[in-house]
């Protein structure tokens, strides 16, 4: 998993940089790192943001792979970020396999983990739920499903938020 915090570096300044220049350089580098390294490495922008990555690691879900069988749907434009409808579904699972847990994440929210849902065989295959989330601003929402056979699947959805609504 890519980390965005950038260690102090001496690559930018000879030993003669003023304190302000050195700080500015470090900040600029940090900003570049946040966008995936900048320059030639721009295409390596991680699809999962750092706060979400940390929350996923705490759940043991860092190895989740994007899979079209998991669907995450929101309105493309959410008028009111205080109440955004989120639809999640998963079908075409192997016989006897069901969704065991499902996490929902919004990187730009104060708390990236919106919810973690638990299922049983009667609700997890096929799985379909609907919930209402708070979204602070335009961002990409992520879902991770843990199946009963141990596999980890992810889906994401970019959403524009007209009026942010995290209630602070």
């Amino acid at each position: 998993m890519l980390r965005t915090s950038s260690p102090p570096t001496d690559r930018l300044g000879g030993g003669r940089a003023t304190r302000r220049e050195a700080l500015g350089g470090a900040l600029a580098l940090g900003a570049l790192a946040a966008f995936g390294g900048g320059g030639a490495q721009a295409e390596e922008t991680p699809r999962i943001g750092p706060a979400t990555a940390e929350a996923l690691a705490a759940r043991g879900w860092s190895e989740a792979a994007f899979d079209p069988r998991l669907s995450l749907t929101l309105p493309e434009v959410v008028e009111n970020g205080a109440n955004a409808p989120v639809d999640l579904a998963m079908s075409d699972l192997p016989e006897g396999v069901f969704v065991k847990r499902l996490g929902l994440y919004a990187e730009a929210n104060f708390t990236p983990e919106i919810a973690v849902y638990r299922f049983g065989p009667a609700t997890g295959a096929p799985m379909r739920i609907s919930a209402r989330a708070r979204l602070a601003e335009s961002q990409t929402v992520l879902a991770v499903a843990e199946l009963s056979d141990g596999s980890l699947l992810a889906a994401d959805f970019p959403v524009k938020v007209a009026i942010g609504g995290c209630a602070g």
């Binding site: 983990e113 919106i114 849902y117 609700t123 609907s130 989330a133 708070r134």
Partner: protein, 113 residues
């Protein structure tokens, strides 16, 4: 329960009947403020946090769906899921607030068609 809690009405909607093997949609709504604890009132005072952190749904006593919830869930608290019905089912929902002191419940019954 305080007077204010009286307004926090739990609702659980399920079809009255279902055929064996039928998949039905269960809808739940709790009129709860889901106060994040990060807002201020008009006088600038902090509005205390008040969040439903857990919701749990059982069918004939067995858990079929549950949610761990952060303050990033909208008010009122809405959750909808699909459930496969095999037998006459008593569905029960429970919502638990921070501090575990206050909970709300609702139930619904699905007969076989």
């Amino acid at each position: 329960m305080s007077e204010e809690d009286y307004e926090i009405k739990p609702r659980l909607r399920a079809p009255k009947t279902a055929a064996p093997g039928e998949r039905v949609t269960i809808r739940s709504l709790l009129m709860h403020p889901m106060e994040s604890g990060r807002r201020k009132d008009l006088e600038g005072r902090d509005i205390p946090r008040r969040i439903i952190y857990g919701a749990r749904f059982t069918a004939n006593g067995e858990e079929v769906f549950a949610a761990e919830l952060s303050p990033m869930n909208a008010s009122p608290l809405y959750l909808e899921f699909d459930l496969t019905i095999q037998e006459p089912t008593t569905l029960e929902a429970e919502w638990i607030e921070d501090g575990d002191e206050r909970r709300w419940t609702a139930s619904a019954r699905i007969e076989l068609a």
